[in-house]
Amino acid sequence: MITPGFTDPLFLEGAVRILFVFVLVTAALVISVRNLASLLTTYTVQSLLLTLIAGLLYLIEGSPVLLAISVLTLVSKVLLIPFFINRVEAKIKISRDMKFNYLEPTSSLLVSIGLVLLVYVFLSGFVGELALGRLFFFGAVIGLSLTLMGMLVMFSRRKVITKVLGYLTMENGVLLFGIFVTELPFIIEVLIVIDLIIIVLLTTIFAVGMDSTIEEYRQKLQRLHIWPGREYL
């Protein structure tokens, strides 16, 4: 039997595994939730879960980079980015994204299960779980699956806001994969985060900064071929 204790590595690994499943569930929610406010909350929760995973890993491994990643994620993805997107959502006055391309939520969830399996098969042929250890290997699987699910969001949802959230989910997947496999240099992670913040800032500026009316924002985006067109608004 396992002895109780919160610093026990076995307990910590168990907790990390539980968080893995929750991460995937948030990704599934990003795929299927229709309310934009809930979508943003889901993304925030997902980032918070990543923060926790990085924190727990720091407790297991003791590497200070993990702690730094944890703090960085907390600041950027849990606080800053949701704050900006919240501003955008408040301005653009649409509360729901009901339209789906190619895949309905029900079938995209089935596809997601398939994706996890595919990634598992792919990685086990590529890396081999013995080289990494089961927990780390599974973390890599979850990270890559999260990336693919983010991509799935980007092509299966219509609204730009949702697409941006899909992109952010994808980046979260990259972060997770990085934590568990490649030991991504911290500086690259910082650069990515700065990149993300700039993207989100740009979206915000487009929406609320330079042009205060939503009409012009749409025209601008249409010129950039990002916005799908007026009938979806």
């Binding site: 039997m1 109780p4 569930v25 029900t106």
Partner: protein, 334 residues
């Protein structure tokens, strides 16, 4: 010759269903109370369900001339089936049961009997409401079934047994959850409780509006003591499902090794017997409190959600299935 294990089992057969039957209506009113509080109302008294049952039991039964024996047999059969099912979920102590009592698949299918006959009795009177309820209830129950079976399969995977009694014995022997998977399965089990007992966002137990109702539509033609039996059945079902979740996640207080001491106490000194009885009381009290907490959580959960459109439900169920499937993948791979 009667063995100790036989005594323990006979005692269990009397105690467990009796206790479940006794406490079940309490949680129905407790959930109503919590929901009322969340809405700023006062809500019914905690014992209101008992008063309702007493009132209904003394009312006459009205049958439609269209209805057949199905309508007459179903209330009795359903309560009997649920009482049988209560032998599968020990709430006070775990007995040494003969093979088959405790099998998780038999438990699932005992619940299916209840559903099957309730749906038939919904069709029996020929009312359009009843038919609608039966159709919706059976369809939705079918779609949630994979989630339910996968969740129970995950339990069987982790605990390496298909017997609920043995599962509880394993979980109650350790202080924290045996495996992270169990925590995840518990969440699936929670969703199953919500779906199977017809709570928001799946079904609204508080309304009689044809757009929303599923379970209430099926029993619209039931009256008098038959209705009382049906309500009682429903509450027993809820308690049993809650008990499965509680005994998997927080089995603290469930007496695993007590049966031996108990029978020893019965045949031996009165001191031991006293000890055993007080132990049983402690277990019962522990369950009462834990189930009460769970009922409060269910009430809060219901208060925070609105009813989903009928055809939005498959997506919700798909989410639940996704979750359970991930849980089992996790168990297989990690």
């Amino acid at each position: 010759m009667i063995l100790n294990s036989d005594i323990s089992f006979i005692l269990f057969c009397l105690l467990n269903p009796g206790f479940v039957l006794l406490i079940s209506p309490l949680y129905m009113s407790l959930i109503k109370k919590v929901k009322a509080a969340a809405q700023g109302r006062k809500g019914p008294r905690l014992l209101q369900s008992y008063y309702d049952l007493r009132k209904l039991l003394h009312r006459e039964v009205v049958y439609s001339p269209t209805s057949s024996g199905i309508m007459r047999v179903t209330p009795y059969l359903n309560l009997a089936v649920l009482l049988l099912a209560s032998l599968f979920v020990p709430v006070i102590f775990i007995p040494e049961a003969p093979a088959g009592i405790g099998n998780i698949i038999v438990f699932i299918y005992l619940l299916a009997i209840e559903r099957f006959f309730t749906a038939l009795s919904g069709l029996d009177a020929g009312s359009p409401f009843g038919g609608m309820g039966s159709s919706r209830a059976m369809s939705l129950a079918a779609v949630i079934e994979p989630t339910m079976v996968i969740a129970f399969a995950a339990l069987a995977y982790v605990l390496k047994t298909v017997d609920l009694h043995e599962m509880f014995a394993i979980t109650s022997a350790s202080a924290i959850p045996v495996s992270p998977t169990l925590v995840l399965v518990s969440i699936s089990l929670f969703i199953i409780i919500i779906v199977e007992t017809g709570r928001l966002p799946v079904d609204n137990p508080a309304t009689h509006l044809e757009l929303t109702m599923i379970n209430e539509a099926m029993i619209l033609e039931q009256s008098g003591k038959n209705l009382a039996l049906i309500e009682l059945t429903h509450s027993v079902k809820q308690t049993l499902l809650m008990a499965v979740l509680i005994n998997i996640l927080v089995p603290v207080g469930l007496s695993g090794g007590f049966s031996g001491g108990l029978t020893g106490g019965l045949s031996g000194g009165s001191n031991l017997a006293n000890l055993a009885v007080s132990g049983l009381l402690g277990s019962a009290l522990a369950f009462l409190v834990k189930a009460g907490l769970l009922a409060v959580i269910i009430g809060l959960f219901e208060s925070s959600l609105s009813k989903m459109r009928l055809f939005r439900l498959p997506a919700f169920y798909m989410m639940a299935f996704f979750f359970s499937a991930l849980t089992i993948l996790m168990e297989v791979f990690a």
